[in-house]
Symmetry: C2
Subunit: 110 residues, 2 copies
């Protein structure tokens, strides 16, 4: 197995018609992903409602999340992490259209 480092801020395609989701680690009860957004957002009227807990971290860029039932949007920038418990419905309202927003997402069995 390679012990060469890989930079997660690099290696983003020039064109990004959809969000880029890539699995970094998969184990029995957890899955780590890199996600790259460039202005992408959850389609109007849709919510994420997940079976597993999700921990997210913004490595670079900016995003705004909405939690169902909460008035204020959650602003996320570099270094910001957030726990989204299973079945807490949420959506991505905005990501910076002018640059890449690189996220880590750890999904795990609650």
């Amino acid at each position: 197995m390679s012990t060469r480092p890989r930079n997660l801020l690099a290696g983003v395609p020039l064109g990004l018609p959809a969000e880029l989701v890539e699995e970094l680690v998969r184990t029995r009860g957890a899955r780590l992903e890199r996600i790259v957004s460039r202005g992408h957002r959850t389609p109007d009227g849709e919510w994420y409602d997940q079976e597993w807990d999700e921990w997210v971290l913004v490595l670079t860029g900016r995003a705004e999340l909405r939690i169902e039932g909460e008035n204020d949007l959650i602003q996320l920038g570099p270094g910001d992490s957030l726990l989204l418990p299973a079945h807490v419905r949420h959506r991505v309202e905005w990501t910076d259209p002018a640059g890449d927003t690189v996220w880590l997402a750890l999904h795990y069995a609650p």
Copy 2:
């Protein structure tokens, strides 16, 4: 459960006599930690030899790792990630003494 974000680059004590290791997520087969180093390194002659696979990511700062049996040190900077399979012996040779090196480490059952 709180859905407030937390910035992982902030909240580091002024004094850091030892590396700061903090558990962010624990589940059956995985454990996510934040580690903050400030010039800390693995003591001379010691190696990490772990039962679980470990995936690491440098969020900010700089570090050098040594893998047993490899000639070249591995240089890590912001955004660099590395997979350290179970029982691949390794040590941290150097972290930047002039600033904080903030790591994420995901330990998981192989």
